[in-house]
Symmetry: C2
Amino acid sequence: MTRTQLVYLSGGVGGARLAHGLARLVAADRLSCIVNTGDDLVHWGLHVSPDLDTMMYTLADVADVERGWGLTGETFEALAWVKRYGGPSWFALGDRDLATHIMRSEWLRDGASLTEVTRRLCAGLQVATPILPMSDERCETMIDTDGGTLGFQHWLVAERALPPVRRVWFRGAARATSSVLAALDAARLVVIGPSNPYVSIEPILTLPGVRERLRGVPVLAVSPIVHGRAGKGPLAAMLETLGRTEPSARSIASHYGELLTAMVVERGDEKDIPLRAVLGTDTLMHTRQHSRALAARLLEFAVELGYWT
Amino acid sequence: MTRTQLVYLSGGVGGARLAHGLARLVAADRLSCIVNTGDDLVHWGLHVSPDLDTMMYTLADVADVERGWGLTGETFEALAWVKRYGGPSWFALGDRDLATHIMRSEWLRDGASLTEVTRRLCAGLQVATPILPMSDERCETMIDTDGGTLGFQHWLVAERALPPVRRVWFRGAARATSSVLAALDAARLVVIGPSNPYVSIEPILTLPGVRERLRGVPVLAVSPIVHGRAGKGPLAAMLETLGRTEPSARSIASHYGELLTAMVVERGDEKDIPLRAVLGTDTLMHTRQHSRALAARLLEFAVELGYWT
């Protein structure tokens, strides 16, 4: 088998920003993004895939970078009227964003797979890089808290990630899609984006056949922890409660363990990481220029290591 | 049984305008609007009830009177993005309007009846006058054309009402709701709004138990034909092809036949109407003042005839 592909594993915002940089530097026929769908939910009767949407919108340059979710120039008229009717408003769907969920739901009802639906949505947004849902089946990321078990978005958004997480688990016996397995089989290099390892990457790794396919290929992770802090998300608290460790790039390295062959961390966070190949650089991506610069440094590093040509 | 109610039978726009006037003059506990649901359709996976929505929005003073459908101040962002995805755009749903269909669909899925759903939506819009869907079951108005059979909205909107109508029929064995039958049992006066008799009123009349309940009560129709012309709708052509007659108030009277005891028509259209009680007045309703004035004249006329107090 000719291994020619860069396969990128990702959750939402942080992961999508690096994907944006990679997509500018790697030809669309050599890059695939495998995206977490454990956060998917049915809201207002519509199938919403938060991480897929963030990835699509980011690659299409229509994501709202300031707000961190949804579409730029978005309006919220439907939401305002749903509130007027006393309907559920804890999860905000914008008017343009609604079109994505409406079409996804419609096509799924017509029998198309989530993979095919995502391909069609990407075509509509003129995104050339393949975005592959990790599974066409439901795999729900569940959060056990002291007060009970919540779906991930309920915990994150409705509960504002406040209830301490006792356990993360995945409901359903989802399988990786054949596209995902084929991409991994053709992978020359796997990059794990700066996403939450517990709730964004683990759902992908937990699918049968994924971990074993990562054994024969260089796997490079980008740390989502920078100088002891996570971006906006709940990762720092999760490292403490679930990992029983401090939030650090080293903790991320330990979490992935033998899966990793190399790591990219923030400059200054290199110490004590038990890997020979560690690159310290600027990893915060506030602008598209940052995304592109980090992607370029990562690819250079991969070339130096012989992982990529 | 004490007959105290004014029961109003209606389709969409024209009917809703007169309802707006009646609702200002008749107390909410003496007025019920029974509304056609034969035009209902599932669009973008959502249950859309065009005539119920027009009635609700009109009574709530949030209808777009200029455009003739939908909400005032409406935006169409979701529609624009559905088009971007190559989705169906022949039936325009506005962003605020979407909230109505989202909540209706959600509540119906949860097991609420269309009657109950409509009550909740009206509560959200602070509409006090009871709006009663004619049925909680699907009764689809079908249009036979030379090119095949179409659902009503497909024929009206997608085909712009251009294919000549060979037959109108109603798919499904829908029953009137108990609320509709109870309203008719309590009716002191039934008013048939200036709606299309074939596709707006006939679906109501065709429900088992409705016609027989109209026999013992004064029934006053307002002509939707004014000086030989219908408003924007397809009624004039239907009178010619289906009724094999010319578009006139007289043809409307003939269509309803013995069902009617009185009629309100445009001044000058009174002649040859085979009813003793005919009022000629200004029936065009371009503004809310017109709606109120027509409602007031109609009620005076009903009082003169001994139909109303």
